[in-house]
Symmetry: C2
Subunit: 317 residues, 2 copies
């Protein structure tokens, strides 16, 4: 298992810069007053393909030699990684094979195809996904880019907190949502090198708190099919992301579904930005743990903006 270094982050940044946005950092005097902290929102919802995932995906795609790139790339994902990898492969002009459950929303399939991705459907089970993916990879010879358990992807995600530190002149803490741990690992990788004094908090739904339980237990615990409105955060840690979480994360804080939805509404109303439910988990834990953040300069990673506007969580039920 290769552990990426900050040199890999710097190389990734040079490599991906032409293909991504340096997203803005927004502030809100209302939310500062409400939390008693100085919050700096890194808006990856404005990122190319709508999410930070394009950083890691682009680093993987543009880091391939021409020889390696010839057969394209492949992944299994029904979310932002599928979009981002399709986008990056399209920019390089190579095929991107995506294995998705046939039950995935039509809108997601359309979006992947919109970026040029080639979809192979599987049944909605782990065994089917693995079988179909193995077949696709064998048939195409494509380079596998895992959504997060890949050093190239983690080094790419590390470019986000590097920009955040440049844009804010330093922070006491950074809070990012945690699912598989790609963004959190990239944040650990970068901050442990350039700002080791900055605390790193991961934010997770109560109802998908496998990372928090892993953190306390000292080994990976994976949940089977957790249910949460923060649908980007259902996947488990893997060995590479666990390495960073275990060694560099200050704490993992959790919030209830109601707290997440309320934080999401608050952000939309006050900051006028469209973001996914997953991105509301950091604000939810900041509001829930004022003693941890009060008086501090806190970076908050808004990870993505690809939300189904016709199925907003406050509309259901």
């Amino acid at each position: 298992m290769y552990i990426p270094t900050f040199d890999d982050v710097k190389a990734a940044h040079e490599r991906v810069r032409p293909h991504i946005h340096r997203t803005p950092v927004l502030t809100s005097s209302y939310l500062n007053e409400l939390t008693g902290a100085d919050l700096f929102f890194k808006c990856e919802n404005f990122q190319k393909a709508g999410a930070f995932k394009v950083r890691g995906a682009s680093n993987a795609v543009f880091g391939l030699s021409d020889e390696e790139a010839r057969n394209g790339v492949a992944t299994h994902s029904s979310g932002n990684h599928a979009l981002s990898l399709s986008y990056a492969a399209g920019r390089r002009g190579i095929p991107c094979h995506v294995v998705m459950p046939r039950t995935a929303p039509q809108a997601k399939k359309d979006a992947v195809r919109g970026y040029g991705g080639i979809i192979t459907e599987c049944e909605p089970s782990t065994s089917s996904r693995e079988e179909v993916f193995a077949r696709v990879q064998a048939e195409t010879g494509a380079n596998f880019v895992h959504p997060y358990n890949d050093p190239r992807v983690i080094a790419g995600q590390g470019t986000c907190s590097r920009e955040l530190m440049e844009q804010t002149d330093g922070l006491d803490a950074v809070v990012a949502p945690i699912g598989g741990g790609g963004m959190v690992s990239g944040t650990c990788l970068t901050l442990s090198s350039i700002a080791p004094e900055t605390a790193i908090y991961a934010a997770e739904p109560d109802q998908a708190d496998d990372a928090a339980r892993s953190f306390r237990a000292g080994h990976i615990i994976a949940d089977d099919a957790p249910v949460t409105v923060a649908d980007g955060l259902k996947v488990p840690l893997k060995e590479l992301t666990w390495h960073f979480v275990k060694n560099h994360v200050t704490d993992i804080l959790t919030a209830s579904e109601d707290e997440i939805v309320n934080a999401m509404i608050l952000t939309w109303q006050r900051m006028k930005i469209v973001m996914e439910p997953s991105c509301a988990v950091p604000l939810a834990v900041i509001l829930k743990n004022p003693e941890v953040f009060r008086g501090k300069r806190v970076g908050v990673v808004i990870t993505g903006g690809n939300v189904d506007l016709k199925k907003l969580p406050w509309m259901q039920g």
Copy 2:
């Protein structure tokens, strides 16, 4: 009737600068491709109090002498002008009296009170509003700040297109929504002075097209209670805004309700910003009239972001 000049805009800008944001200008490669134009979105949805109206309101409030300011300010509005005037008066520490129909949504009343506004309710009719407003003004001696038919307000709104021109290095055209005509008049005032070659288009709903009909008829036509999803655009032109529209607007283009809602969804989905239905009318007319805008550099004013997230137009029906 005093017609404000560009010197008034410059004075307004100095006066309001400490109280407003210089809002960002966003671009979208997707929307550029879709329209064939280079679009520059001036994001007043990120403005203080959530809308451009704070420019004119702040100019009026901070332009008062201490003597004039002593009794506060007053207006009738159930929308963004009420919020903005309350915000500006609060910053100066003077009372703001707002006459609102008792039938206005509770959320709007709460928002005005949240900014310190003092509400007096009237019946939902013009006669009651005028009667109650006259009483409030007589009792308080407050300075009346009309939502748009006021030279101080128009000069304040003119600061928006001044920033837009600075931020874009020039434009072939600017498109802004038109209701009472405050934003469009401010745009005319500024551009006729600093960029007379830039075309000015006003965008209006088909179902509230009184400004378009006025423009063609050569005199003000006011509709009685038009119905449109673009609820900020229901009010009629008045003599001062008519002066600017008549003399400086290139054309007034209209769009259907469906076209407006579709442009709104498109903007939320692609630009990840929360904005009011009124702000979608410019993009709707640009999409509808590609021959007018293709190949041009076009400024688009996103006027505000105060939308009820629980009543989004694509949720109704």
